[in-house]
């Protein structure tokens, strides 16, 4: 059944999204009408008016789901299943042209040559200032200063249109022409012609949007997509050629070679015998800096201010054409896929923005269904399942082994013939260690069960020890004084601060976690039981005395029931705090549990699993609280009415 649903995922999501929108509007209209009626017969501030109503509950839930469907782009995927693939092709073109556009003041404020010139000039000026401050000899200063001056004039010579090599000019013009040609192809409806059988097969073979870990299918599946993909390859080649062009020529080369030779000469000429080590180092460092500037200027990346105008105009025209060719895709990108878009990397496309970290509801559900399958689970362990466990194992767990030691006699030794004669002691030991044949019973297991079991075990021991101690502290001056500092000192420490210590002492398996949760629950239970006990009305205790009750009877029949509301509230709070602590503790260490699952998913950046665990934790926490509310309503109906 699930596979059938998964196949029609897109259709189902689309349907649900529409229904949610309609329901949201309907519930809001209905709710507003009721509010309008209320205005006439209820005053503002009357708490009765805040009772809510199923229509507002529906509107609230629908709003959350609509936002989820919308911002995770699940709705977009449902209504425009090919949009991501097309946007991927568009993104490929963007990525391809990016090296070219980054040279022109399109995204940035300055022409790239302008900012390079400014930066290099500033650094050369800095070299001048450093030289003036240095302790070099006058001869050295003159020599180095001349070198810096030569570098500066070489840099400036590149900015002059007169110095541009005609060969370079020709290559720039070629690039502009090639960009124009590609633009024409982009505008041509016939380009790139019919798809080949191999292309079609490749496109059809790839998994759909979100169906695999590559997220967005890379090969174009639409005509528009194919056009962009074809153009992207050509643009990438042009951009590569364009970035290879360097503003060098015969004049420039000669000058730069002269500088280079001088630097090499200087570097070779340092004589360690004449100078102190420190002084030598200062000179070497300075020449190294000159060398760095030399290499940068040698790249020839600065062009005269208007030398690239032709290319810039072509790139701008190309981009305008690309924008036009996107057509309706622009609106789908802006409206159906909010806060983010599809971006292309070297080999694949991916969702960026809310579509990435907010998994789609349908994918999340599918993941939940997938890991709920006990055969798959997570890390080889089911989420919630059962296993057959022999009763003997449980008997062995609960019966202490030393019982066998109490049986009179000696444990048998093996006989010379290698046999062992079992006696009564051995038989008792077999029972105590669970070493006997027995029937098996189903026992729950899995990540969810482990988490629940830990919370319940911690809570159980916390209640078992905390409630009596709390009552005792509420009744005895000694107990209050004696135990108060102990509990008040450890209670304010955040439970997770204890975790590293506790997990080291008790181990990272269940023992440590249960003890940690016990500590959490214990403090809360002591304090709530104490509050309950001290809150008993004196007249009730007087009454019980007058009616002939003994001390023990008063504790059992008056103080305990009187403290029950506080104790149950304490349990409710404990469950909440334990639940939070447990997940954090499971993240720290362990091999099972919901927190463990989330931690592994975090390491793998598996957002879907993370969301599944978050939802599971929320639902289970809510479930615990609902159960406690039900228990409280059932067991202490008198609360607040005494």
């Amino acid at each position: 059944m699930f596979s059938a649903i998964a196949e029609h995922r897109g259709f189902i999501v689309g349907l649900i999204f529409i229904l949610l929108l309609i329901g949201l509007v309907a519930a809001t209209i209905y709710g507003r009408r009721i509010i309008r009626n209320e205005k006439t017969d209820a005053v503002f501030g009357n708490p009765e008016r805040a009772l809510g109503g199923w229509y507002w509950v529906f509107a609230g839930v629908a709003s959350i789901l609509v936002i989820w469907f919308y911002f995770s782009w699940d709705a977009a995927r449902s209504y425009f299943p090919d949009a991501a693939n097309e946007l991927c092709q568009v993104a490929k073109v963007d990525t391809a042209i990016n090296p070219m556009r980054s040279i022109f003041p399109i995204d940035s404020r300055l022409l790239k040559g302008t900012s390079l010139l400014a930066r290099d000039s500033a650094q050369l000026n800095q070299l001048d200032r450093d030289l003036a401050r240095s302790g070099f000899t006058d001869a050295e200063k003159t020599e180095y200063g001349a070198l810096v001056g030569q570098l500066r004039s070489a840099l400036q010579s590149m900015a002059s249109p007169d110095n541009v090599d005609p060969q370079v000019q020709k290559r720039i013009a070629e690039i502009a022409q090639r960009v124009d040609d590609v633009r024409a192809k982009l505008a041509d409806p016939a380009h790139p012609g019919a798809a080949s059988a191999a292309e079609i097969e490749k496109a059809l073979a790839q998994p759909g949007w979100g169906e695999s870990t590559t997220e967005v299918p890379t090969y174009p599946v639409t005509e528009r997509g194919r056009k962009f993909a074809a153009v992207a390859d050509e643009v990438a080649a042009i951009a590569k050629d364009f970035t290879r062009i360097r503003n060098t020529g015969a004049v420039f080369d000669a000058r730069i070679k002269e500088i280079g030779d001088k630097i090499k000469q200087l570097q070779a000429g340092f004589d360690s015998s004449e100078l102190e080590k420190k002084e030598l180092q200062a000179r070497e460092t300075y020449v190294k800096q000159i060398n760095k500037m030399y290499k940068r200027i040698d790249d020839g990346t600065v062009f005269p201010p208007n030398a690239l105008d032709q290319v810039e105009a072509s790139v701008r025209l190309f981009e305008a054409e690309a924008y036009r060719q996107q057509g309706s895709l622009r609106f789908i990108d802006a409206i159906a896929m909010p806060s983010g878009t599809i971006e292309a990397g070297n080999t694949s496309c991916s969702e960026q923005g809310s579509g990435r970290w907010l998994p789609k509801p349908s994918d999340t559900l599918a993941t939940l269904v997938r890991i709920s399958d006990p055969d798959i689970g997570y890390k080889g362990i089911p989420m919630l399942w059962y296993q057959q466990k022999p009763l003997a194992e449980m008997a062995g767990f609960f019966i202490p082994d030393w019982i066998a030691d109490l049986v009179p006699g000696e444990y048998p030794r093996h006989q010379p013939d290698g046999s062992i004669n079992e006696n009564l002691k051995t038989k008792v030991l077999n029972v105590a260690t669970g070493n006997f044949p027995s029937m098996s019973v189903p026992v729950p297991m899995g990540h969810i069960w482990d988490s629940i079991l830990r919370v319940l075990a911690g809570l159980f021991f916390g209640i078992l020890l905390g409630v009596p101690l709390g009552l005792f502290m509420g009744l005895s001056r000694f107990a209050k004084g004696f135990f108060d500092p102990l509990i008040e000192l450890y209670r304010p420490v955040p439970p997770l601060a204890w975790a590293p210590l506790i997990l080291t002492i008790f181990g990272i398996q269940d023992d440590g976690k249960i003890f940690l949760l016990f500590m959490v629950a214990f403090a809360i239970m002591v304090i709530s039981a104490r509050t309950g006990a001290t809150g008993t009305q004196l007249s009730k205790i007087h009454a019980a005395h007058s009616l002939g009750a003994t001390k023990r009877q008063i504790i059992k029949n008056v103080i305990l029931p009187n403290s029950l509301p506080e104790i149950l509230t304490g349990i409710r709070i404990s469950i909440g705090v334990c639940w939070g602590t447990l997940v954090a503790a499971e993240m720290l260490a362990g091999t099972t549990g919901i927190g463990f699952v989330e931690n592994v998913a975090r390491k793998q950046s598996d957002y879907e699993i993370i969301w599944v665990t978050i939802i599971l934790l929320g639902v289970l926490g809510l479930l615990f609280d609902l159960i406690m509310r039900w228990v409280i309503n059932r067991t202490i109906p008198w609360r607040g009415k005494g």
Partner: protein, 265 residues
């Protein structure tokens, strides 16, 4: 003969600041079997302290209290107590509240159930046995408190402003009920109240207490309780002698209150 004897009782409290406050000074009286005593006085005169001493919740710092020639040493079943707000166990039903004393003594279950039925009928709560007490009105809760106390068959019944929190109509009905129980059971009853009318109606004997230190100021012997057994309570309240006594006691208490106010100012 059951008899409550208070022999020069002194009671001194120590405040947390270390001051000694004398709540009762040299209180002596005796109460015979079947007598109905009401105690009246301005607030702070030690009425409740006196009651708590007799109930055994407190110990006197001087003097001796005895019931039936046995010194009072802690709370006991022979001295039943009815509290102002009922002090019912709200987690129990009406019947479980009423049979609380017998259950604690592990009394025969069948007999207990029978007795509970009887007492619920006497206080007018038949059929309410399984009702949780928090669903009862204030008057009904006080009836449960009465039944819970009486089922233990105490020698002496102590009532600490038992009708104080009730509305006027319920209060009058409850006053009749107390008188009826007094007559039918012949118990010794000691009632503390701050209502002069109630003290006059429900007191065969009436102590007016004075504050600072708390002491017995004046004792009255009154016929109204006897009358109340037969006649209409409202007629008694309009009787000239009742009106005269009421005005006398009221002005007495007013004078004491003024004295206190003068002293504290």
């Amino acid at each position: 003969m059951s008899e409550l004897v208070a022999d020069s009782i002194d009671m001194t409290f120590h405040t947390p600041a270390g001051e000694a406050v004398q709540a009762l000074k040299d209180v002596s009286f005796s109460l015979k079997q079947g007598e109905l005593l009401s105690v009246l006085g301005p607030s702070g005169c030690g009425k409740t302290t006196l009651l708590n001493l007799i109930a055994g919740f407190l110990r006197p710092t001087g003097g001796v209290l005895s019931l039936n020639n046995r010194e009072i040493d802690g709370p006991g079943v022979e001295r039943g107590m009815v509290f102002q707000q009922g002090a019912l166990f709200e987690w129990l039903t009406v019947a479980q509240n009423v049979d609380f004393g017998l259950r604690m003594k592990k009394h025969n279950k069948k007999e207990t159930a029978k007795k509970v039925e009887e007492w619920l009928e006497i206080v007018g709560l038949q059929g309410f046995g399984d009702t949780p007490t928090y669903q009862l009105s204030g008057g009904m809760q006080q009836r449960v408190a009465l039944a819970r106390c009486l089922i233990n068959d105490p020698d002496l019944i102590l009532m600490d402003e038992p009708l104080g929190a009730l509305d006027a109509l319920t209060r009058e009905k409850m006053q009749s009920l107390v008188l009826k129980i007094w007559k039918e059971t012949g118990k010794t009853i000691m009632i503390i109240t701050h209502s002069v009318e109630e003290a006059l109606l429900l007191g065969e004997r009436l102590f007016v207490m004075a504050p600072r230190p708390g002491r017995l100021h004046k004792e009255y012997r009154l016929p109204f309780a006897e009358w109340g057994l037969e006649g209409d309570l409202r007629d008694i309240k309009n009787h000239p002698q009742f009106v005269q006594n009421r005005e006398e006691i009221l002005s007495m208490i007013w004078n004491m209150e003024e004295e206190i106010m003068g002293k504290t100012l």
